[in-house]
């Protein structure tokens, strides 16, 4: 299994805790946190909620998530200039995003996409994957 490959059962294992953490961070009902819900469009999340959420996930899962980790991982091997130009995600960047955020339905990747709008794509599953990757990184660093 490659480092990027994440199995559904891994996601389902962390999802209950991630969902509760999202509900705590957003002040919403945990039943409203579905795996595929968009945090901004479906749960009214603000940018500060993402910061809060990452800190809460660190505490819930007792792991370290480097700041800006989702955006950094979104870029993959692409340089910043290859990923975005003047705030707009490049075609190569869009291709990379679609792969990285495979949980997001294709019709939500509108073009042109502003880099600042990438968080609009994030779902609860995106944060499950963030936790799983951070766990793996922690395990490989230990």
């Amino acid at each position: 299994m490659s480092q990027d490959e994440i199995k559904k059962e891994e996601i389902l294992e962390v999802f209950p805790t991630v969902a509760k953490t999202i509900a705590d961070a957003l002040g919403c009902d945990v039943d409203d946190v579905k795996l595929n819900v968009s945090l901004i469009e479906g749960l009214d999340a603000e940018s500060i909620d993402f910061l809060d959420l990452v800190f809460r996930l660190e505490r819930s899962f007792k792991l370290k998530i480097p700041r800006g980790k989702i955006v950094e991982d979104s870029r993959g091997d692409l340089s910043e200039a290859e990923f975005e130009q003047k705030g707009i995600v490049t075609p190569a960047g869009m291709e990379r995003l679609r792969t990285f955020l495979s949980e997001v339905p294709a019709d939500r990747f509108s073009t042109p996409m502003k880099a600042a709008d990438i968080p609009r794509l994030f779902t609860a599953e995106t944060f499950c994957k963030l936790v799983i990757r951070a766990r793996r990184a922690g395990a490989s660093a230990a």
Partner: protein
């Protein structure tokens, strides 16, 4: 600008500093004040943490608003007392500062803030970096002249619904103009989250008072904020809908409430607040 570095500045002097790591300082609560809300003690601790983090980032960024967890209230503050402050910075980068803070009077705890996160934003949008540097030099040296902090205006609050043991809804009218806006912040006035907390405590006390047959001699007070978050800025002149919902009995003589603040339907603040009945105070 009148009120800058006085109308909402709650650190008079920094006595110990390890930039980006920890700090100690104090604030002399002026004797002429009518009162000093406990939430302002949390503000003072947060401001000390802000100084300790801003200097590390050369005053290019500053923490604004944010989140707090496990804020515990101890003894009340009386005008004329000296509030000793200390903070530990747990992490700091260009995105956020994480810190804990404590305020005490003669060694007795006023507030203990276990964990707080302040998002970092460009200083230029809120205040003059150079003015902040000069202020920092002053409070790290001889200290700011005392007694310049004045009472903030009383909350313009109307309770619109009160259902004992269930909920309270109120309207908070943020003043269009107030001296504290010149200090918080000169280039972008923002209603302080700790003032919002103070208003929430005021109405939660009313809900708690009508929800239990409290024993004679019981004084109700805020005892714990397990969670609080400011999700958006509240500008001057805004109308804020406050909602306090009973959450649970959190212990003997303790009630936990869920708090929400909305501006035009948008949640700008969410949290939990515990009210405790104290006998013999």
């Amino acid at each position: 600008m009148q009120g800058h570095f006085s109308a909402f500045s709650l650190v008079d002097r920094i006595t110990e500093l390890e930039a980006g790591k920890r700090a100690k300082g104090y604030f002399e609560v002026p004797a002429h004040l009518a009162g000093f809300p406990v939430s302002f003690a949390a503000e003072a601790g947060g401001q000390l943490a802000a100084w300790a983090s801003m200097v590390q980032l050369d005053f290019n960024l500053r923490p604004v608003a944010g989140m707090a967890s496990d804020l515990r209230f101890g003894i009340p503050v009386r005008p004329g007392q000296r509030l000793d402050l200390e903070t530990t910075i747990n992490s700091l980068d260009s995105e956020a500062v994480r810190y804990s803070a404590r305020a005490s009077i003669n060694g007795e705890s006023v507030i203990e803030l276990d964990y707080s996160v302040g998002p970092m934003l460009p200083m230029e949008g809120f205040d003059s970096p150079q003015a902040m540097r000069e202020r920092f030099e002053l409070i790290c040296g001889e200290g700011a002249p005392g007694g310049r902090f004045t009472d903030v205006p009383k909350h313009d609050l109307d309770i619109v619904e009160l259902v004992p043991n269930e909920r309270l809804c109120a309207i908070l009218r943020v003043p269009k103009e107030a001296l504290f806006f010149n200090d918080h912040f000169p280039r972008r006035p923002v209603f302080p989250g700790t003032m919002l907390l103070d208003a929430q405590i005021a109405v939660a006390l009313k809900l708690a008072a009508g929800s239990r047959p409290w024993a004679p001699g019981t004084t109700l007070a805020a005892s714990l904020v397990p969670d609080m978050k400011m999700r958006a800025f509240v500008p001057p002149g805004e109308t804020v809908e406050l909602q306090i919902d009973f959450e649970s009995d959190s212990g003997e003589n303790r009630m936990m409430f869920k708090t929400a603040a909305r501006v035009r339907g948008k949640r700008v603040g969410v949290g939990l607040l515990e009210i405790e009945g104290r006998i013999g105070l």
